[in-house]
Amino acid sequence: MGYIGETIDSIKSIQIRQLLTQAISLGMIVTSALIIWKALMCVTGSESPVVVVLSGSMEPGFKRGDILFLHMSKDPIRAGEIVVFNVDGRDIPIVHRVIKVHERDNTGEVDVLTKGDNNYGDDRLLYAEGQQWLHRHHIMGRAVGFLPYVGWVTIIMTEKPIIKYILIGALGLLVITSKD
């Protein structure tokens, strides 16, 4: 009971200046996180420099919950590279390996076929209706490095959004009641 009384007292004793300072520091933290994210997008040349592996189609190399670091350069796409691509009309990125490449002579346009290491057949079933090949504009980046298990945080927050709300609520409470 004494703790609740103390908390209410501390909420009542917040002055406007202190509140504004706290709001600004919070804003600074969020903004610097955004700056780091955008800088990473610039450096790696990819729209999403880090992705979480969501399915088991690349096991045992990449398990669900691993995170992949992506890099996109102007280098041509070659067989064996692990690429992350978006199918038209779907916004979940897929991480699979390139198994066939046909690159045209003059224009540099390329037809690419991909397959997950752990899948039996190639990805034509995943592509859009009538699409047989992927093109350069579908591909968001090449996987260059990876860290195991770190992506589970994102998966849990996406699949059980209640945990996200609990976390944000707890953080908000901590900000309001902390003395500095």
Partner: protein, 167 residues
């Protein structure tokens, strides 16, 4: 300064920093390994070579693949993904790569192997360009680490040729 919250926060931050540092060091140590892989591929037989109903050439081969990839494994290696691709040039396309076979090698002991199979994936061209075509067979490998940077390389073997007429 000495409350439970502060101490837990400091401990967690320190633990995560050390963990990230160890992952970086593990990945960096891969640069020091000396890698000398070797491979040989022989085409034993052209099983059939025909034109598909949709108009593309397709050929089926039996390959004999011998390889020693044991030197690629370090303590930070989770698996090595090896595949054989046929590479060739046509009048319209400056480069074509078609993967014929692949395998996942989970341990060093399995990295020295000899295998005789027909191609796992269909060798289909975009067009009718395969008659009499010279092509290279390349053994690619992709070392996937337990943590950190991935490494890929290949051995190119040239001098293979497809027959001049359909069979």
């Amino acid at each position: 300064m000495h409350s439970f919250g502060y101490r837990a926060n400091a401990l967690l931050t320190f633990a995560l920093t050390i963990l990230a540092f160890m992952c970086a060091i593990a990945s960096f140590s891969d640069n020091f390994s000396n890698q000398t892989p070797s491979a040989q591929i022989q085409i034993l037989n052209i099983n059939w070579f025909q034109e598909e109903p949709h108009g593309n050439d397709e050929v089926s081969l039996t390959l004999n693949i011998t390889a020693d990839l044991q030197s690629l494994f370090t303590w930070n290696t989770k698996q090595v993904f090896a595949f054989v691709a046929a590479e060739y040039k046509t009048s319209k396309n400056s480069l074509n790569q078609v993967s014929l076979w692949d395998a996942i090698i989970p341990e060093k002991e399995h990295a020295k192997f000899w295998i005789q199979i027909s191609n796992k994936y269909p060798f289909i061209d975009k067009g009718h360009n395969l008659r009499g075509k010279d092509f290279n067979l390349t053994l690619h490998w992709h070392v996937m680490p337990k943590t950190g940077k991935m490494l890929a390389d290949k051995i190119v073997m040239s001098g293979y040729r497809l027959p001049d007429a359909y069979r």
